[in-house]
């Protein structure tokens, strides 16, 4: 399936969502509540077979956070990026780790550095920083007057 065809078939699966070609991958923007059903359909649809989550990350835009999921199909070798916006004050989203086991560690890292709360994650706790760390360092409003020298 070519990229154009892929975009069309995903658009027809999710008529409410917007899909456009990004720099490298097609980008599908969805509502955060529909995340699990979208992932589930993309994974189980035999012509798409997105069976591999090769990256999961988060972006802080100050006004809101954006979760970014990079999917890959090991059968067809096509990719897709899924983006969904979260509230900056109390970011919460369903965990993807019951569909993609690799999300478990990614989500712990995102929780650690961005403070996104993943619902139904088996053991959501800090992974890189110490357990008693205050705050989430990759947030734009993070401040550490002792260790940080501001430019």
């Amino acid at each position: 399936m070519g990229t154009e065809e892929l975009i069309q078939s995903i658009q027809s699966m999710f008529p409410d969502a917007s899909i456009n070609m990004g720099n490298n991958f097609p980008e599908l923007v969805i509502e955060k509540d529909s995340l699990l059903s979208v992932l589930n359909q993309l994974k189980s649809e035999p012509t798409l077979a997105f069976d591999y989550l090769f990256c999961e990350t988060c972006v802080d835009w100050k006004s809101h956070l954006t979760m970014v999921y990079h999917l890959d199909s090991t059968r067809f070798r096509h990719n897709l990026v899924i983006k969904t916006n979260l509230d900056a004050q109390a970011p919460e989203i369903e965990s993807a780790c019951h569909l993609y086991r690799t999300a478990e560690l990614h989500e712990r890292e995102i929780f650690d550095l961005f403070g996104v709360k993943f619902l139904n994650h088996p053991h959501l706790r800090r992974i890189l920083l110490t357990d008693d760390w205050k705050g989430h360092p990759l947030r734009k409003d993070y401040d550490d007057p002792i260790n940080m020298i501001k430019l």
């Binding site: 110490t130 360092p137 993070y142 550490d144 260790n147 940080m148 020298i149 501001k150 430019l151």
Partner: protein, 183 residues
């Protein structure tokens, strides 16, 4: 302070007085000890980022720091003489570095390799995790500039360390001399 750069051809410290059937060598014990020490410095296997790749290159066949007596890298601090801080030191790594340094037997030497180990380098500003220079944790003998330094630069630092040892001063004595010269 003047670190005298001696040509590598300079032999054993001391003078030989020729006599029948051989010769008599006159030297001072301190000089002999420093000469021996400077020519057998075993580095610790310690690399925290990209500088470590350059350090491995310096150790490998093309540059080969064994030629200057940096023979074998030891995996335990108890057998190492010099620690080459090759890479960024983060706050979480700092106590590990301190412990490794404490476990090394005296005399021990430290080379800060590259911008990160010298000052935090590219991570100096707006970073919550990086130590702004490894000398906040352990005393450093020789600093190398570069990001990362080329193997030649590391070799130069290693030879400078040898000259420093051969000059026979302790770290405190050197610091005192530098203060006396207004540096």
């Amino acid at each position: 302070m003047d670190v005298k750069i001696t040509p590598p051809s300079e032999p054993f410290p001391g003078t030989v007085h020729p006599t029948d059937g051989g010769g008599v060598l006159v030297s001072s014990l301190d000089e002999v000890i420093n000469w021996a020490r400077s020519n057998s410095l075993w580095p610790l296997v310690f690399g925290t980022s990209c500088c470590a790749i350059e350090m491995m290159s310096t150790a490998a066949a093309k540059y080969d720091f064994s030629r200057f007596g940096f023979e074998v890298a030891r995996a335990t601090p108890r057998q190492a003489d010099v620690i080459i801080i090759a890479g960024t030191i983060v706050n979480k790594m700092a106590p590990v570095l301190k412990r490794l340094f404490d476990q090394m037997p005296d005399p021990k030497y430290v080379i800060a390799m590259g911008a990160c180990a010298t000052s935090g380098g590219p991570f100096f500003y707006n970073t919550y995790s990086v130590v702004k220079g490894a000398d906040h944790i352990i005393p450093v003998d020789v600093y190398v500039a570069g990001c990362p330094p080329r193997p030649e630069a590391l070799l130069h630092a290693l030879i400078t360390l040898q000259e420093k040892i051969k000059s026979g001063l302790t770290r405190d004595q050197i610091r005192g001399e530098m203060k006396a010269h207004g540096n």
